[in-house]
């Protein structure tokens, strides 16, 4: 039975903050195929096209028929835990300070045996659900979980190393003026955040939902304007050491292509709010997040950014906006690399049109803010990195992966 987490005490100021270390991060290029699956919370292994053999560890040819480069496919995730060991001595500095650590051999129903991290509620002989998690070096790791949810399952010490669970953590929602931002504040509070700081720019401008936002438990309104470096830096100076999760809910959606737009004013606003805003956030809060990556139960753990799915492939109806989002997507890749030494994740939540004012003239399907936010909180709880919310986002992803050039023409 997992011991439920208790709310962490305030830090002892006389103790040195534990610095983040990374588990071994070297992988072969082929093995990185697992990362793509783990990032989306899918369970994928290589399956040979020629002889249908399921393969693990990742190989460059099928060991059944030598067919080259087996592709990663979704495969059944159930198996049986054959053996478990509790490692008490490790040669690796990251694991040394996290001993004891359980690993086990799982015989998968789909064929191969997998040496995996093992959830504390599992015993030898149990049926397991195998998952791929992103560990603190950002690499995919097989993690055996109970088939049925167990009490306080998410609090498992090893599992929490791989996830960004909001429980007992402190979050900053960057823009409380938006429907998404308000929904986010509520969801994070319900997910167990001890404080949800909610940024509000131009506090002299009233906004709908302001009163109910203030009534959400654990919400604390803070001044934050992502277009203003001084504002971002001031807030980081105040709360930067106490923020474990940042959810960037800033929006600036405007229709129109590149050529049809007259001038750069709107484009600059888009870039200023979305791209430079993200950069300001990262510069002001990033170093402290990275430093606090191993700072106890409420260690710094993730930045979440909502992204228009046409960051992947430009939709000319929203051409300039798509381009801005593409800049954010690219920045997220740099930030992932920069945050990696702290084990802090950067989570992209891709979405299509939302049920908000700025997508008003578009037909359904559209994603409701609450649904978007639910996916974001789920991504934190599962430690995902790339989440595609709703039919349109998933459709664009699939078409993009299948043939990016074709998608460009289709759009």
């Amino acid at each position: 039975m997992t011991e439920p987490l208790v709310r962490p005490k305030r830090k002892d100021p006389l103790k040195r903050t534990r610095l983040p270390l990374s588990p071994p991060g070297a992988r072969s290029r082929t093995a990185l195929g697992l990362v793509a699956a783990a990032a989306q919370g899918r369970f994928m292994l290589q399956v040979c096209r020629a002889c249908a053999k399921t393969i693990y560890p990742p190989r460059d040819a099928c060991p059944g028929c030598f067919a080259p480069a087996p592709a990663f496919c979704d495969v059944p995730d159930r198996g049986k835990l054959l053996a478990v060991t509790t490692i008490r001595t490790s040669t690796d500095a990251y694991y040394r300070e996290r001993m004891p650590w359980r690993v086990g051999t799982v015989q998968m129903d789909c064929g191969p045996s997998i040496v995996a991290h093992v959830h504390g509620d599992l015993a030898e002989g149990d049926r397991v659900t195998m998952s791929l998690k992103l560990d603190r070096s950002g690499q995919a790791a097989a993690f055996a979980l109970p088939v049925k949810e167990t009490p306080a399952m998410a609090d498992d010490k090893q599992l929490r190393e791989m996830t960004c669970d909001p429980k007992f953590r402190r979050a900053l929602v960057t823009d409380g003026r938006t429907a998404v931002g308000q929904s986010c504040a509520k969801a994070l509070s319900e997910a167990g955040c001890t404080i949800v700081f909610v940024g509000v720019s131009d506090p002299w401008k009233p906004f709908p939902g302001e009163d109910s936002l203030r009534k959400i438990p654990n919400v604390e309104i803070v001044p934050l304007d992502l277009t203003n470096s001084e504002s971002v830096n001031d807030l980081a100076a105040d709360i930067g050491g106490r923020v474990d999760i940042i959810v960037n809910t800033s929006e600036h959606v405007r229709a129109g292509g590149i050529m049809a737009r007259k001038g750069l004013v709107v484009a600059r606003e888009e870039m200023d709010i979305r791209y430079f805003g993200l950069m300001r956030l990262a510069q002001a809060f990033g170093p402290a997040l990275r430093f606090r990556g191993a700072d106890g139960v409420n260690s710094a753990t993730a930045i979440v950014n909502f992204l228009f799915v046409h960051a992947l492939a430009n939709w000319p109806e929203f051409g300039a906006y798509s381009a801005t989002e593409a800049a954010c997507l690219s920045a997220s890749h740099s930030l992932r690399a920069e945050l990696k030494p702290g084990g802090v994740k950067f989570i992209n939540i891709f979405h299509g049109p939302l049920e908000t004012d700025w997508f008003q003239e578009l037909p359904p399907p559209k994603v409701a803010p609450a649904q978007l936010v639910k996916s974001a909180v789920d991504a934190l709880k599962r430690g995902l990195e790339d989440v595609f919310v709703g039919d349109i986002a998933q459709d664009i992803r699939d078409r993009f992966l299948a043939n990016p050039k074709a998608l460009e023409r289709e759009l």
Binding site: P24, L82, A83, T105, S137, A141
Partner: protein, 391 residues
């Protein structure tokens, strides 16, 4: 596909067993240890570098060199050159390839050497880069090294066959007894079953005395014709038969048997002996569970019955089943690839009657077994040789 008949090793011998005493940590590199082994061989056989026309080497820490670089390093000009990176199977595999080279006339005098260095951080670095599968799919999981991998195999073996920690402990305690009579063993203290049982847990069910101690050292021998060995006045042993088999039983979900099973009939058939004829056994003992597996898979008992077998036997050099007579790696230490030579070189000393205080009486036939290379979740290499005293 019909299998062709294996040919005998008649007329080919392994000679001049050499052990360079181990050190827990050494500032010297693998080349230094290989050099000392070559020097010891040359002194015993009165050979100059030019007289050695075959060279087989096994080492994890000789990088960036391989066997070819070592020829220049040591002034050798061999016409047979082999690099055997097979860990615990290196000794038997090095022997059988060298023997075939001599038999075929490709070489007259092959020096077989295994050596490894052990610096303060060598072990960790060897683990993290041991194999691609280890890097991709094992080392990132707690970084327990072979302790964790063998813990899983041991757990499964215990569940599957009902073996207990006491059974493993008997193997370890007997080997320590042997080691107390072997001058080069690093472990010099007696070990009781209580001490074994109460030792610190390393990776359950593996405890401290289930683990070998990494160290530096070298082992070596020569392979040549029997005639040549006699001319040089060298102690030597005959090679009755050998087998090797890799990645056997790949569909077993977890390892509980090794490749010996596949070729067991050939091993005994070619040698024309039965398990009961064997006077001493050297198994590869990186963990006691593997020794138990070998006792089964090499035909000394039925599968799953090794625990009962060791309960009923005296495994010391004085006993009815002399096993790992120098103390094995568990008590002598594991000098990297030299651990794959340790049993073979010890068996040679026993059969030549030069073992010293741990000499087995009337040692005529020895079985030496090798096992190695936990690439992912199991040891891939297996090998065995039957050796006989020169009459």
């Amino acid at each position: 596909m019909s299998k062709r008949q294996r040919q005998s090793y008649k007329g080919v011998v392994a000679a001049a067993p050499v052990t360079i005493p181990y050190e827990r940590f050494s500032i010297h590199g693998a080349h230094w240890w290989i050099g000392r082994a070559l020097r010891a061989l040359s002194e015993q056989a009165r050979l100059k570098p030019a007289d050695i026309d075959g060279f087989s080497v096994s080492s994890f820490t000789v990088g960036p060199d391989t066997a070819i670089g070592l020829t220049q390093h040591f002034g050798l000009s061999p016409r047979f050159l082999d690099h055997v990176p097979l860990g615990g199977a290196s000794g038997v595999v090095g022997l059988r390839r060298a023997a075939r080279a001599v038999q075929a006339g490709d070489a007259d005098m092959v020096a077989c050497v295994a050596a490894d260095a052990n610096h303060v951080d060598s072990f960790r670095r060897t683990l993290s880069t041991f194999s691609r599968f280890a890097q991709d799919a094992v080392y990132p999981y707690g970084s327990g090294g072979p302790n964790a991998s063998f813990a899983l195999i041991t757990r499964d073996y215990m569940t599957r066959f009902g073996a207990t920690r006491e059974d493993f402990g008997r193997v370890c305690v007997a080997q320590r007894d042997n080691a107390l009579c072997f001058p080069h063993a690093l472990m010099k203290k007696t070990l009781t079953l209580d001490e074994y049982m109460n030792a610190r847990a390393i990776s359950d069910p593996i405890h401290l005395f289930d683990c070998v101690m990494p160290c530096a050292g070298a082992e070596a021998f020569l392979v040549c014709t029997e005639e040549r060995a006699r001319d040089l006045g060298l102690p030597f042993v005959r090679i009755l038969s050998t087998i090797e088999r890799h990645n056997a039983f790949m569909d077993d979900p977890i390892q509980y048997r090794g490749g010996w099973v596949v070729d067991l009939d050939d091993l005994y058939g070619l040698a024309a002996v039965k398990p009961a004829d064997v006077d001493l056994v050297q198994t590869y003992d990186d963990y006691p569970v593997i020794s138990l597996m070998q006792i089964e898979d090499l035909g000394f008992c039925q599968k799953g019955e090794a625990a009962a077998f060791v309960r009923d036997r005296d495994l010391t050099f004085r006993g009815d089943f002399p096993h790992n007579t120098s103390g094995g790696q568990l008590s002598v230490g594991q000098a990297g690839a030299a651990g794959g030579y340790l049993g073979l070189v010890e068996a040679m000393r026993q059969l030549c009657g030069i073992a010293g205080d741990n000499q087995v009486k009337d040692a005529n036939i020895a079985l030496v077994s090798g096992f190695g290379m936990i690439n992912y979740d199991r040891g891939l290499a297996s090998a065995a040789a039957l050796l006989a005293r020169a009459s």
